[in-house]
Every structure is written in C-alpha cells, then in structure tokens.
C-alpha cells in the first residue's frame, strides 16, 4: 500500500459514512477529507461519533454504509492488519507480558524484520519519545506519561502514513498533558506523517491541530483551522462547545444589530465602559446591569443582564484592577461595546 505520495489525493476520505448500532446512529453521514501531513483533530462531546470514525479508519469497526478511502483506496473491506495506519489507544493497550522494547518491536517482529534492524529501530524510537534505556522494563513499572510514550513509539516504529490517536492524553494530569501536547506536535512535525487526533478537550484541539472537525450527534458541524473555528463558529453548537460564546437572539439582537436572528460574540471581545461613554464607529453597543462578578486572578468574569432580555458573559484582563476594584462593579449599570467584525451570524431570520 505504500506508493508515492500524491498530494492531491487525500490521506483519508470519508464519503457519506454512516455507522448505526441498532437504533443508535453513532455516525450519521460524514463527509471529510484529511490531507497528508496534517495534524487533524476530531473534536466533540462524548457520544458524538468521533471515536467511531477513528475506529473505522483503523478497521476495528466497519461503516454501515458509505466509503472510507486511505490514499484513494477503498478500505471498507480491509481488516486492521492490512491497513497502513497505526493507533495509539486511550488506555495505551500495552502488552503486559512483554517488556517495553518487546512492545515497541511488536510490529517489526510480526513483519519478521531481522533482529539487528529491529533493535536499532527500537533504540531510535526510545530516543524519539525520550525514554532511552527503559527498554527492559515492564509496562507496569512505568508511569502514565511513560506508558503513553511507549504506546506512541510502538505505533510510530512501523512508519505508518497515518497515525490515529484516541484521546491519548485523557488519563494524564494537567501539567503533563500540556507538556505532552507540545511534544506530540513536535514529533508530528519531525516524522511528517498525518496525525488524526480524537479529543473532547477543545483547548487541546485548538493548541495542536492544523485543522479540526467539530462533531455533534454523529455529524460534522464545522471543519476548519483552529482560528476559523474559534473566530467564526458556523453553528450555535460550535460557538458553545469551542470556547465560551455568547449567543444573542430575539429582542436584544434586534436592538443591538438592527437585524433579527442569532449572533455569537466571544466574552473577551466585549469591553465594559461607563454608561455615558460614546460609541465608536463600527461598534455595537448595549446597556446592562452587572449581576455577577467572578474574580479569577488573571482576569475577571462578569455576567451582565441585558435590558431587552438575555445576558452576556464578559471577560476582562485585570490589567490594573485589583479584586476590590472589580467587585464594586456588581449591581451597577454599564455600557458594553464590541467591534462589529467580531460578531458572527449563526442564523438570520
């Protein structure tokens, strides 16, 4: 299956893929192209179909209908062991009866690669994932982060054209997770292959991906780069799931924008100012009462009740303000201002 790479052919294509488990429509009509060398993330809440999509790429699961192509070849009928992809499992799935080196060499051992080459490549992999000298340990003697790296090395040693990662950082603590995010991204750049990454953590998705697809109820809501998804959410679901977003609709929307429909605005784009202050050119504005103030150290979150109904969350950095300053704002009337370009139309009536 390893031919020359044709950049015009997607590494992975989903063509109207559906996967039904009896009544449950886990994946309900997915069309998607992932290109060679991309770090592509499937983002969504649990049960949104992202893991099922990954499992169908790996071959652990088969579509009920539709087609999945790897580098242009329909693989719907191919078993996992005949596909040029490798997987990093959520629970790592390291073989407990083998050493770290044996785990990493597993794919080569199956392919009957000669022992000297096998050993050399295992050492290279241990180097790549920064675990040199740990080859003789058993997986049970490693920490969670180390197991994670072994799982990565075991998948990468086969030099697949696509690496699938199923929430690989889910079991790690925050500090380690942030460190591994950077490391994973570096490794991807270093080996230059396609990474397909499944996560429910929107921050992780935004940090690591070249592009991402947001899943909901077995369908893709939006595909785009992190900044496209964040700055211009296409649906109210994306606006709410990726980052925090204010959705304005009804009378308030009509009052603010002059149009009826649903609009989204990110909390950090809104400025709070004095109720009498002037409205600059190209800005939207409204008046509301501060109902809640949450001081979070680096920044403060305000909840502002609008006169025409609904409320807006506003986040302000604490540039000069102390907690005493911000807390006095509670209960006061304020003017909210934001640049019209930050507003995205979710639905226009």
């Amino acid at each position: 299956m390893t031919g020359p790479i044709d950049p015009t052919i997607p590494a992975i294509s989903f063509i109207d893929v559906r996967r039904y488990f009896d009544e449950v429509k886990a994946v309900d009509g997915v069309d998607l192209d992932i290109y060679d060398g991309e770090f592509f993330t499937l983002l969504g809440p649990s049960g949104s179909g992202k893991t099922t999509c990954l499992r169908m790429i790996a071959g652990f699961d088969r579509p009920t209908s539709g087609q999945i192509r790897l580098h242009g070849i329909d693989v719907s009928e191919l078993p996992p062991y005949d596909r040029d992809v490798n997987t990093v499992f959520q629970d790592y799935a390291l073989f407990p009866h083998m050493t770290v080196a044996e785990n990493i060499a597993y794919g080569l051992m199956i392919r009957k690669t000669p022992r000297p080459e096998r050993n050399q490549r295992v050492d290279e992999m241990l180097e790549l994932v920064r675990l040199p000298g740990l080859g003789d340990r058993k997986p049970s003697q490693l920490s969670g982060g180390q197991r994670q790296r072994v799982a990565l090395a075991r998948a990468l040693i086969n030099r697949p054209r696509v690496l699938l990662l199923d929430e690989p950082l889910g079991a790690l603590d925050l500090k380690l997770r942030e460190q591994m995010q950077i490391e994973l991204k570096n490794i991807q750049v270093q080996v230059g292959i396609t990474f397909v990454y499944v996560t429910h953590d929107q921050e992780e998705a935004l940090t690591m991906s070249d592009r991402l697809a947001v899943f909901n109820h077995g369908r893709i809501e939006q595909v785009g780069t992190p900044s496209e998804i964040y700055e211009a959410p296409g649906t109210s679901f994306v606006a709410g799931f990726v980052g925090v977003s204010n959705l304005v609709s009804g009378a308030s929307a009509l009052e603010i924008t002059g149009k009826s429909g649903t609009f989204s605005i990110r909390p950090e784009k809104i400025q709070i100012s004095d109720i009498h202050s002037a409205i600059p050119q190209g800005y939207y504005s409204t008046i509301g009462k501060v109902s809640e103030v949450v001081y979070l150290g680096m920044y403060t979150r305000y909840l502002v009740e609008l006169e025409k109904g609904g409320e807006l969350t506003v986040v302000q950095q604490n540039l000069n303000a102390t907690s005493m300053d911000v807390l006095t704002k509670r209960g006061t009337m304020v003017r909210l201002l934001w640049d019209q370009t930050h507003v995205h139309v979710i639905r226009e009536d």
Binding site: P80, Y81, F89, A93, F95, Y106, G107, I110, N158
Partner: protein
C-alpha cells in the same frame, strides 16, 4: 445497641479483624492443616505385618513399601490419566470459554454459563452411574455404532490393549471420557475468567500492528490467558489424581491411586501405607506447579 457495637468495632479495627478471621483461620489452621499434619505423621508409622498392629514409631518403612512394581504401575497409570484428562479438558474448554467471553451475547452467555455449571448441581455419583449406562454394551453409544454399521470400529478400539476392555463401560477410554466430562467445568470457568480480564484493546492493538488473528492468538491472547489454563489444570489434574469413584465404577482390576489408598486404609487397615501413598499425588502436584512456574505460567498474573 447495634450503633454502639458498630462504633466500638470501627474504632478498634484489630478487634474487628480478629473477630472476622477467627473462624476461617481456625478452619484452615486446625481442621485443614492439622489433618494434613496428622496424615504426614501417620505416614511415618508402619503396620507390623505379623501382628497387624500399627507401630507408632518414626520409620520410613511405609514409604519404602510404596516402591513395589504394582504401586509404581498405579502411580504411572494415574498420573498419565490425569495428564491426558487435563490436556483434553484444556482443548475442549478453550474454544468454549473463548466463545463465552468474547463472542456470545448476554443471553447466550448466561445460558452457556448455566449449562457449564448445571452438572455441578447434581450428584457426582449419579452422573458417573448414568455414564456407566451410556457407555454400557447395551447403551446408546454401542447402539449408535451398530446403527451406523460401524461396530467393527468400536470393537477394534476396545481390542487395543491398555486403553480397551470388554466394553466402553469397563475400559480406560470410558474412565477418560467420564473424567473429562466431570472435570470440564473446572477448566472452563478459570479460562473464561482469564479471557474476560484481557482488555479487547490489546487484541485490537495487536491487529493494528499488523498481526493476523492467529498471530494475535499466539503472541497476545494465549500468553495472557495461560495462567487461567494453569489454574484450571490444577483442578482437573489434582481431582483426577485423587479420585477413586470413576475408576471403581468404570474400571477393571487395574487400580488408580485413590482406589489403592481406599483399599489400604479400609480393607487392610494399613493407614500408614495409605497416608504415605497420599503424599504421592501431593508430590506430583508439587512437581507440576514447579514446572508450570518455570514455564512462566504465573508471570502474567
């Protein structure tokens, strides 16, 4: 009242522990271990041949009495039967356990579980005797061979020395079949439990890394389930070693260890020799477990 008792015990975990463990420790220590010690002590006494009285003095005479040609024959017969029964149980149990643990749906699994367990709920003696009828010359198996016009095959097999006999119900084949039948559940259940403990993701990972199902089975499934097979084989092997009912019901005059022990301590009243003979299966089990350990059977535990 109950609340005060609960508080009292909660604050004194040691007292609670002692109360909880007293009975099982007594049972294990005194009843179980004590009888074992008494057995060992008895094995070092001997029966005076002339007076027929047990001499309570330390002696290895009973042990040396084990090494007669007839006894060695019994040990060999019993151990090979136990080994063959264990092997056959493992071969039959593995696919069944695999099906139960990995393939069958909830309802079917419960049904299979029940059918494996069900025989254990009825009397073992009744089941052995019903096999006697099944295997008898006038039984269903002979009838089946006759109907198919293959009586010659059955007779041919029964004419083979050592394993044959006048009919299936008086032959080593019969003993083998019934042993496999009665001990099979003890092999199925540990293997099934071991299979259930192997995460499916390990098998998926193996396939993902290029292994065909047969390779996954050899390299991943079997090594991880092997402790379960060993656990099951400890049951089937030791139960066969000590059993005296099946060979009595279905055998001929060639004794198994259990029968020999029974006749020594019952008929001839030679309790020291019976006790010494009982140490033989223990010794065989000891060797068996050591070999299993050397083979790495317990490493994946």
């Amino acid at each position: 009242m109950i609340r005060r008792l609960s508080n009292f015990l909660y604050l004194r975990p040691t007292v609670f522990l002692v109360l909880m463990l007293a009975l099982p420790v007594f049972w294990l220590g005194v009843v179980y271990f004590g009888s074992l010690v008494s057995l060992l002590i008895n094995s070092f006494f001997y029966l005076d041949d002339f007076s027929g009285i047990i001499v309570r003095q330390f002696s290895l005479r009973s042990y040396s009495g084990l090494f007669t040609a007839a006894n060695l024959d019994i040990f060999q017969r019993t151990a090979s039967m136990a080994a063959l029964v264990t092997l056959m149980c493992a071969l039959l149990a593995f696919p069944l356990a695999y099906y139960m643990a990995r393939v069958a749906g909830k309802r079917l699994k419960a049904l299979l579980y029940l059918s494996v367990m069900l025989p254990l709920w009825s009397s073992y003696l009744v089941r052995v005797y019903s096999w006697k009828l099944i295997l008898a010359k006038e039984g269903i198996i002979s009838w089946l061979f006759k109907t198919l016009g293959m009586t010659w095959l059955l007779e041919g097999v029964l004419n083979i020395p050592v394993i044959g006999g006048p009919s299936l119900s008086i032959s080593s084949i019969g003993i083998f079949v019934v042993f496999v039948y009665v001990w099979l559940p003890y092999m199925v259940l540990p293997i099934q439990a071991a299979l259930e403990r192997v995460p499916i993701s390990l098998m998926e990972a193996s396939g993902d890394l290029g292994a065909k199902p047969s390779q996954t089975f050899r390299k991943v499934t079997l090594p991880l389930v092997f402790p379960g097979v060993v656990a099951g084989s400890i049951f089937t092997f030791s139960l066969t070693l000590g059993d005296f009912i099946v060979p009595t019901v279905l055998g001929n005059s060639s004794f198994f260890i259990g029968q020999a022990v029974l006749s020594h301590q019952g008929t001839s009243g030679n309790i020291p020799l019976a006790a010494a003979m009982t140490t033989v299966p223990m010794l065989i089990m000891g060797i068996y477990l050591t070999v299993a350990r050397k083979l790495g059977a317990f490493e994946a535990l």
